[in-house]
Amino acid sequence: MFGMEFYVDPSRCIGCQSCLKACEECDTHRGVSMINFDFVDRGETIATAAYVCWHCDNPTCAQVCPADAIKKYEDGIVGSSLKPRCIGCSNCVLACPFGIPKLIPENEQMMKCDMCYDRTSVGKRPMCATVCPSQALAYVTPETIAATRRQKPVNTFRFGNQKITTKVFMMAPADAAEIAIDVADYTWEGEHEVVPQAF
């Protein structure tokens, strides 16, 4: 849908798993859900998180694929593996810094969120973001997000020395420019060079 972007806000997530259930209703991968969903630590907290693929500008999964089976489309969407090419080696599963791709044994193929390509390519919203009752997953315009949310969208992530920019945005505290999850990201070791991938 023109002008729409995808925003993920785990602080809104209520753990209902509607996204998980709706994903498998999507026509490109009927019966298989591509949502990544976690209870963070159910014993300690009710916190949950649901993610889609982040659709990296420079996708690690595609870089490590020995069969050249993972393609990024012109609109920035990174697709599931191409069935005729995928050899099921799981390189992508291991390499993705976000832990998104899944090997689907029955299909002998890596599958992952393709942003409901059958829907978004014809102007519909992705299934998960359409049904999400808390709008933790939202597919709206940047203007709408700016006008309605306290938090700020960020699409730059650091994993150690790997810096990744993505099509999908994470909602972060208003003063965060990028999201870093590794202590190494906060240490100072001189002027290190930022490399786009970690291998």
């Binding site: 809104r12 209520i14 209902c16 509607s18 259930k21 009752p133 808390s134």
Partner: protein, 736 residues
């Protein structure tokens, strides 16, 4: 009748089996796209989210979000996403069933209906008209609910009809009626997003009204403060600005403490109180002893937190207080709700955008299903069955003499008590699964076994229906047109998507056919639900819930019409009390004196732990429908006991262990989750399961004296680690 046949044999035939795939399979028929998209609503819960059902070859094969419907704008919880899988289900009843010695056999409609009519007449002849009772349900469309009320009173002439909404929000209904003069949430849901302070009491919104979450988050993103009071740290509590861990059964102490602070600190809206209310002195006097310290000692919330909540709530002109079953399922449920409404009234927070107390009705047609005559004391339009003018009006519409209208009968639990005692001999039950949903399940089972005649109309063989003499194969929501009223009292249009399968029939057809066999056919001449609705418009005309100005076409054009809607050119009433007038004859809101009472099942040395029950997000009520949908069962395959580590640790209980919970009624053994998200003195069990997994084997039958709601939300129990499944479980039955 008698005992249920062996459940294992029934299960092989009637389930619950799990349906995972759409008609025709994921890659088959359902993937060919749909012939039509039918704009209708989800049947699971009072939110009544708009949804489009994909229909092909008279079968529902999937869904598509309905983004133009304003209430949910495409949003759905997992129940909504998977609701379509209740169609084309292997367990679906395709023929009427008659009881045999070993189980059930298929019957023709003539056999089943003749038998039903004959047995009802025989019992009424032998024991009197009131020896048979009717149970209705709040998941029925409003037309069906109206029809059940008329059927009981005109076709059967019994005074005993009540419905499963008695287990839902009736405490709120009684409180709103007594204080505000009408039983309805006063505000449309858009007001939530406009509030500056939101207080959520006893409402697990993230799981029980999921799409309401977005309204709350929108308010928070605009800077609203969120207060959550609940014994459990619910999903929305995670983002609360103030969390009040209220002890089960003590909400009233907390609320009276807040009222005390508001009055003590001069935070009331004196002008509003003087102009628009009566009885403030009574309320003030009753809360005077409830200083925050005393309230804290009872409810387990710090005094400072009670003070802060009171100051926040009273400190804004845009405060909304939202509540649900957590406040209502108590033997003082009405007082709980009256106190909540009182907080809104004394701070002047009502009748404006973003200001008001609102109940979150739980059942599919929880609002519409309680307005038109299937409650034991009500006639259509929220009219009182004891009001001579109301009786004359409705009798006139129905073409009978007012004196022929029976008086008020028993409420749902009282009907079961009267069955148990032998006073009521026959029961016709629609859209109600009392064996799972009523408290003290073993008492309910004993009662069902004493019935001389038991007829059930349902689309699946529910746990209760296994006890029936005859089962009339009825219709799903999507198989008959009608209306419901959602949580906002927005009357919406349920469109028929498909015909009932096999020899199953539309519910209203079955009821009318039965009325004819009882010799009352001339009062039930309807061919289509629309004809019932047209009569309902007249019957409700001039009542509180006035539907006269509502038509199916107007609903479609406006995407819902909020009642009251007294004339055809009236747009409907999204927000009540905007002119400061309440619905009592004097136009005032009536504040009440509040009085503390202990729970009907107090904790003591033998039963030292509080037990509270509720829902999980993937299941609906007694699970008759949702325990048959694979994806929803996978999400919550079994009920799990939630226990705090402080309670579990000394007993050597760890996550995944089997734990026996014993109450004064019975004991059940389930697996547990050890979590820090519940009070250490309280355990939680979801109630959607039957047999040995039924939380309602443990609950008690104490009722609120006015609303007659059971006290599901607080029982006393003790817990012990069990060796294995079933270990330590006592009482008949066992896991099923």
């Amino acid at each position: 009748m008698a005992k249920a046949p062996p459940l294992e044999e029934l299960a092989a035939l009637y389930g619950p089996h799990l349906n995972y795939t759409p008609a025709g399979g994921w890659q088959g028929e359902s993937s060919r796209g749909s012939e039509t998209l039918v704009k209708t609503h989800c049947c699971f819960c009072g939110q009544q989210c708009g949804i489009q059902l994909k229909v092909r070859d008279n079968r529902v094969v999937g869904f598509e979000p309905w983004e133009d419907f304003p209430f949910n704008r495409g949003m759905l919880c997992p129940k909504g996403v998977k609701r379509y899988l209740q169609g084309n289900h292997p367990d679906r009843l395709l023929d009427p069933l008659l009881r045999t010695d070993s189980g059930f056999r298929k019957a023709t409609w003539d056999e089943a209906l003749d038998f039903t009519a004959r047995r009802l007449r025989e019992l009424q002849t032998k024991y009197g008209r009131d020896s048979v009772a009717v149970y209705g349900g709040a998941s029925l469309t409003t037309e069906k609910a109206y029809l059940m009320g008329k059927f009981a009173r005109v076709a059967l002439g019994t005074r005993h009809i009540d419905y499963n909404g008695r287990l839902c929000m009736v405490s709120a209904g009684v409180a709103y009626k007594s204080v505000l003069g009408v039983d309805r949430a006063p505000n449309p849901w858009n007001d939530i997003a406009c509030a500056e302070v939101l207080m959520v009491v006893g409402a697990n919104i993230g799981e029980c009204a999921p799409i309401t979450t977005d309204y709350i988050w929108r308010a928070r993103d605009k800077g609203a403060k969120l207060i959550v009071a609940d014994p459990r740290f619910t999903p929305i509590a995670r983002n609360a600005d103030l969390y009040l861990p209220v002890r089960p059964g003590t909400d009233l102490a907390m609320l009276m403490g807040m009222l005390h602070v508001i009055i003590r600190d001069g935070l009331t809206d004196r002008e509003f109180i003087a102009t628009n209310t009566t009885g403030f002195e009574k309320t003030a006097e009753s809360v005077e002893p409830w200083n925050p310290r005393r309230a804290a000692e009872v409810c387990g919330v710090p005094p400072e937190a009670i003070e802060r909540a009171a100051h926040w709530v009273a400190g804004s002109r845009r405060t909304m207080i939202m509540h649900a079953r957590g406040l209502e399922h108590h033997s003082k449920g009405v007082e709980n709700c009256e106190a909540t409404v009182a907080i809104a009234l004394v701070t002047g927070n009502i009748g404006r955008e973003g200001a008001g107390p609102i109940m979150i009705t739980g059942q599919g047609n929880g609002q519409g299903g309680r307005e038109h005559g299937q409650k034991c004391d009500q006639l259509p339009g929220q009219r009182s069955l004891t009001d001579p003018a109301a009786r004359a009006h409705v009798a006139g519409v129905w073409g009978i003499e007012p004196d022929d209208l029976p008086g008020p009968g028993y409420t749902a639990v009282e009907i079961m008590n009267a069955i148990h005692s032998g006073e009521i001999k026959g029961l016709l039950c629609v859209c109600f699964n009392p064996l799972v949903s009523l408290p003290e399940a073993n008492f309910t089972r004993e009662a069902l076994e004493r019935l001389e005649f038991f007829g059930v109309m349902d689309f699946f063989l529910s746990d209760t229906a296994a006890h029936a003499d005859v089962v009339l194969a009825g219709s799903l929501q999507e198989e008959e047109e009608g209306v419901t009223a959602n949580v906002e009292a927005r009357v919406i249009h349920i469109r028929k998507a498909v015909d009932p399968p096999g020899n199953a029939r539309r519910d209203s057809e079955i009821v009318c056919d039965l009325a004819r066999r009882l010799g009352k056919g001339k009062y039930f001449p309807y061919h289509e639900p629309r004809e019932i609705f047209e009569e309902l418009r007249l019957a409700s005309r001039g009542g509180l819930a006035d539907y006269y100005g509502i038509t199916y076409e107007k609903i479609d054009a406006q995407k819902g019409v909020f009642w009251p809607c007294p004339t055809l050119d009236h747009p409907g009433t999204p927000r009540l009390f905007e002119d400061g007038r309440f619905f009592h004859p004097d136009g005032k809101a009536h504040l009440m004196s509040l009085a503390w009472r202990d729970s009907g099942d107090p904790v003591d040395a033998d039963f030292p732990v509080y037990l509270t029950t509720g829902r999980v997000v993937s299941q609906y009520l007694s699970g008759t429908q949702t325990r048959r949908i694979g994806a929803l069962v996978d999400q919550n395959p079994e009920p799990k006991i939630e226990i705090h580590p402080k309670l579990a640790g000394p007993l050597g209980i760890k996550t995944g262990d089997w734990v026996t919970v014993t109450s004064r009624r019975n004991a059940i053994t389930l697996q547990c989750m050890v979590v820090r998200t519940i009070r250490p003195d309280t355990i939680f069990i979801p109630y959607h399961w039957p047999g040995g997994r039924s939380a309602n084997r443990l609950t008690h039958r104490t009722l609120d004296p006015r609303s007659k709601i059971p006290e599901f939300k607080v029982s006393a129990c003790r817990i012990a680690k069990a060796a294995a499944p079933g270990g330590g479980s006592s009482g008949p039955g066992g896991p099923s």
